[in-house]
Symmetry: C2
Subunit: 207 residues, 2 copies
Amino acid sequence: MTPPSATAATASPAALAGDQHPTERLLQTAKTLFCREGIHATGIDRIIAQSGVARMTLYNRFGSKEGLLYAVLEREGEEWRAWFFAAVDAAGDAPAARLRAVFPVLRSWFEREDYFGCAFINAVAEHDKSETRLRELTLQHKGAVLGYFGGLARAAGMAAAPAEALAHQIGLLMDGAIVAAMVTRQPEMADHAAKAAAAILDAALPA
Amino acid sequence: MTPPSATAATASPAALAGDQHPTERLLQTAKTLFCREGIHATGIDRIIAQSGVARMTLYNRFGSKEGLLYAVLEREGEEWRAWFFAAVDAAGDAPAARLRAVFPVLRSWFEREDYFGCAFINAVAEHDKSETRLRELTLQHKGAVLGYFGGLARAAGMAAAPAEALAHQIGLLMDGAIVAAMVTRQPEMADHAAKAAAAILDAALPA
DNA sequence: TTTGGTGTAGACAGACCGGTCCATTCGCGC
DNA sequence: GCGCGAATGGACCGGTCTGTCTACACCAAA
């Protein structure tokens, strides 16, 4: 997912290989490579070479490439949500204003040159569809986001059931914008989504 | 993408390995395996074993695994669009009625047990994001679908620009539903999308 | 009957995969 | 300075990957 440098400061890729903890460098490097080039296409050798960490350190910390992937996703989910919620909340105190800020915030994500789609969606897409673990991790992440949307909707005066329905609709729009922006490389996909969201919100929220 | 057996008749997997042209069996088998288990995770050996075709036949016909993938996507796009447009058009003569039929039709796709998401999206997701060929193929496919939506919107009385905007919004909702249904395995995602689309259409179309 | 195109069966090559093992070095608290 | 856990660097393993090559079977047209 690659949120706008939630870890801040250490932006330079050069600095990345030098001063951080091995675990951190592994997670960071793996996240980047997994997202940009795909998980299966990224070999262990690439990860350890680019992170400047010994092979055994990876296996001691994460057990396997799969374990590393899970750790990357867990971390990425936390960081992304922290960034996203904060950015949306910064749009104002009114819940309705925050709901309307969702897609402008997403656009700022799409505009990053290191935007390569949602790590969770991409991971599910390239694995066996009967794999449950990955889908569970993804559902957990998406569930947290939907919960956040639902909370905003209720805070805006909606009842529980319609608030949940609205959260689902915004969530669908968000997933659509994420994959459309990945494929087209056009951040403006967020604007189309924002217009759609506006129509939905206008119909759902008391004026 | 796996549309509901556009090639009809030859549904049985057993029949698949027996009576068809080698080229056909390769395309069919590769499509299924690529979608269900991922492209990188599907080896040539699996494809030739399951299709009952000689290894050299694959390389004579398609040149490489990559060539096979492109052929699969091209074919899949054509078949899927043919099925989808026909199914939506069957909902009625009125353009508005057809637009509102989009997500019920998608739901019938999500309900298939061999639904594993959109082959194009999945392919882009698991390859290097600087790969242009795959993204172009995907854009071509999505462009055809957006064009279809835009045509319906104009036929429903909308001007060119707003019709195109509406097409984008429906398209985003569609992509979102496709990935959400892939991750959750819940066809009801289409219902949420349908509600969102209804709000958009109600606001856009003249009553 | 011959010939040529198409497909088959499987051995094979070379690269690369994830993962293991081990000897060595580093860094830090004592 | 000492000792010990953590990290390193690299050799190495078995397996699998894509792609090539050869020898052979079939079948229709000349």
